[in-house]
């Protein structure tokens, strides 16, 4: 079964090729079937490989499938081969399974849209690029996948390109991540030059061999690659593109901007964690940046009125938790949170999509309300997702992973407790804003009439993801709930096992369990006394406006980067370098006009010039 690994990225790529080349000739139903089945095949093979792995893991827990050699240069060979280890296996399963569910959801969500087959072509291409990213054994191939998902994200955010605002959002998301990618490319080239290979495992081995712990080169390389990761994962200071990326169709937001692509930065750090261990300064920067991101995004989510923007900020904040785990070296905890987050955030987005479908694409939470009875399926799935996001203890997957991260952060040396406090505060705000949405959308009086009906393609993904959000946490439970360690055991060969916890952890755990409940209580109280509704109706104050715009980073970047750049563009529009050339031609022309005046056809004038020339020549010969 393992030799079929190549089919996992190839199958969606084939789907994308078929739909891209002759999608417009196919009926919508065929496009939906091809689009969904190509990812479904990938998911099927991935599950088979996973089961096979569970039964009998390959030697040293690594599966390599060499496909072909891309390029050979003196001192650098790049192979296109697939490298599957437990981390990649986990990612592959999440991407293909959730990808299949979201494709299924999309068949109904996008029904009747113009460009139906184009949509599935892009989405398949995205899945293929994402799988190439995680399965690449070489950093350069990883970068190809990395840019591939970036392009697909651009295409899908701007899917409804007839609206100029969507095109702007797409360009913004692409350009912001591109800026980060430049740093990443510089980091890759640095590694290629310094270590002579980009094949990840030999490269990491050489790095530990050649570079001292905390040296300048590993810090620089890890830092540059981190910038790329932060850009892709919409972390501070690159977080501005993700809320705007919600301009795309909701299933796209679920797949690309919540479950998979935005976690590529996390994956990059985990994949190269050996390099990051050599750069403790970068790890410290990761954790501090993550702490800032968590709080910034959570506070911004607290005041949004668009349901998708709330979810976008929550995604930024939750990926912040993953980076927080990475910053303190808790790689498996980060990957576990990636797993649970992928499930519950996809669920939340799909629920939001299911609601929007029935409310004529209304996304303002203050215009919803009372949907608990009219949309029971969406209510329950959103409630389960929100509970997981808020990390309601025991019943939700999110609580298990968030607990694990907070526990690991507490024990980090140095600034651990400070980061833990930031994480805990973030958890409180998370619970508050997620249940603010739940109360406002599903309780109280209805504001918008519900129309239409939802079929099986909507219901099946919601039910499956809701079940996942409830149950997937039990793969990895704290000691007082049985102490299952399935994810840890799987990831152990690559990432090692975390340090055992000491007695104080009980209090830390307890705080982590109580805080989400407290947050929900705050949300309920403020909902009961009508605070949310009142504030939304009132004129927003300065602080509120600041929070609503995500702390004004857009305006800051507009003033600091966009305007100077556009001024430069305007200055360069008329090509100032060209003026030098134009000047030469103008001077020549002017000289021509001047000299032409001497050619008047008067013989005496010519004779005079002849004379003057002769005298000058003689003078030169005599006196020089």
């Amino acid at each position: 079964m393992n030799h079929l690994l190549w089919l996992v990225p190839a199958s969606p790529l084939m789907g994308a090729t078929i739909l891209g080349l002759c999608g417009t000739m196919l009926p919508a139903r065929a496009a939906a079937i091809i689009g969904t089945a190509s990812v479904g095949i990938a998911a099927f093979i991935a599950i088979l490989i996973g089961l096979h792995w569970y039964a009998a893991a390959p030697p040293s827990h690594i599966l390599i499938q060499h496909l072909w050699t891309w390029l050979t240069l003196p001192g650098l060979t790049v192979d296109i081969s697939l490298y599957l280890d437990p981390v990649a296996l986990l990612m592959m399963l999440v991407i293909t399974i959730i990808g299949t569910l979201i494709h299924l959801f999309s068949t109904a969500y996008m029904a009747g849209e113009a460009g139906y087959s184009r949509y599935f072509a892009y989405l398949n291409l995205f899945v293929a690029a994402m799988l190439l990213l995680i399965l690449a054994s070489d950093l350069l191939v990883l970068f190809v996948g990395w840019e591939g998902v970036g392009v697909c994200s651009y295409l899908l955010v701007g899917f409804w390109f007839q609206d100029a605002a969507n095109g702007y959002a797409a360009r913004k998301s692409f350009i912001v991540t591109r800026i980060a990618d430049i740093a990443m490319l510089a980091g890759i080239l640095l590694l290629a030059v310094k270590l002579g290979t980009l094949s990840i495992q030999p490269m990491l081995a050489r790095a530990t061999e050649l570079w001292p712990h905390g040296g300048a080169w590993p810090t620089l390389a890890a830092g540059l690659l981190l910038i790329g990761g932060l850009g892709k994962s919409a972390q501070f200071p690159f977080q501005t593109w993700l809320p705007d990326a919600m301009a795309g169709p909701t299933p796209v937001s679920a797949l690309i901007h919540a479950a998979t692509m935005v976690t590529a930065g996390v994956y990059l750090v985990v994949r190269l964690h050996v390099l990051y261990l050599l750069a403790p300064d970068v790890l410290l920067a990761i954790s501090i940046g993550a702490g800032i991101t968590i709080l910034l995004a959570a506070l911004a989510a607290l005041v949004q009125s668009d349901i998708k923007r709330v979810l976008a900020y929550s995604t930024i904040s939750q990926i912040g938790y993953m980076f927080l785990a990475l910053g303190v070296g808790a790689w498996s905890a980060g990957m576990f949170h990636f797993l649970t987050h992928a499930v519950f955030k996809a669920l939340l987005f799909l629920s939001a999509g299911a609601i929007a479908m029935r409310l004529d694409h209304e996304q303002d939470i203050f215009k919803m309300g009372g949907l608990r009875t009219s949309l029971p399926l969406a209510f329950w799935s959103f409630l389960i997702g929100a509970a997981s996001l808020a990390a309601v203890p025991i019943i939700s997957a999110g609580s298990f992973s968030k607990e694990m991260i907070l526990g690991a952060v507490w024990f980090a040396p140095g600034i651990g407790p400070g980061l833990w406090a930031a994480g805990l505060l973030g958890a409180l705000i998370t619970a508050t804003y997620s249940f603010r949405v739940v109360f406002l959308v599903f309780f109280g009086p209805a504001h918008t009439p519900v129309t239409g009906r939802s079929g099986a393609p909507i219901a099946v993904p919601l039910v499956l993801l809701a079940a996942g959000s409830l149950l997937i946490g039990w793969l990895e439970t704290p000691s007082f709930l049985g102490g299952d360690r399935l994810v840890m055991t799987l990831l152990h060969p690559v990432l090692g096992s975390p340090a055992p916890r000491s007695a104080l952890a009980i209090l830390v755990e307890a705080a982590g369990y109580i805080v989400p409940l407290l947050g929900i209580a705050i949300a309920y109280t403020l909902y009961r006394n009508g605070h949310w509704q009142r504030v939304a109706a009132a004129e927003p104050g300065a602080l509120r406006r600041l929070l609503r715009t995500g702390f004004g980073f857009d305006a800051l970047y507009e003033a600091l980067l966009v305007r100077p750049f556009m001024a430069l563009v305007r200055a360069l529009r008329h090509d100032p370098v060209d003026h030098v050339v134009t000047l030469i031609s103008a001077a020549t022309l002017q000289l021509h006009h001047t000299l032409r005046r001497s050619q008047i056809g008067q013989i005496r004038r010519y004779a005079a010039w002849l004379m003057a020339g002769s005298i000058a020549t003689i003078a030169l010969l005599v006196f020089a």
Partner: protein, 105 residues
């Protein structure tokens, strides 16, 4: 044999040349222009003879014979052109012939 200094004929040649030059630059009539050129040529011839005298070399006189011949041939051509111009433009003003194209065109 009277020993003559070369200064006097050289000065005379220079003066003749300048007179010819001024005539060439100042006069409009092509007759006078041709005459001025003849004066300048003769100045050059005189300088050849002077130089031959100065260095005791007969080649200067030989060159003078050449210059005279050349001047005769040149004058013949010059007069023909002058007559053509006179027929066409009905003037002897050299400045009137400052166009490359035909006047009637």
């Amino acid at each position: 044999m009277v020993s003559l200094s070369w200064h006097a004929p050289a000065t005379l040649a220079a003066m003749l040349f300048i007179i010819g030059l001024i005539g060439l630059l100042a006069r409009r009539s092509l007759i006078f222009v041709l005459m001025s050129i003849e004066i300048m040529l003769n100045a050059a011839g005189l300088l050849f003879i002077t130089a031959g005298m100065r260095w005791g070399n007969p080649q200067g006189q030989i060159m003078f014979i050449f210059v005279i011949n050349l001047a005769g041939a040149e004058l013949a051509l010059g007069l023909i052109l002058l007559l053509r111009l006179r027929n066409r433009l009905t003037t002897l003003d050299g400045d009137a012939a400052n166009r490359l194209r035909d006047v009637q065109a």
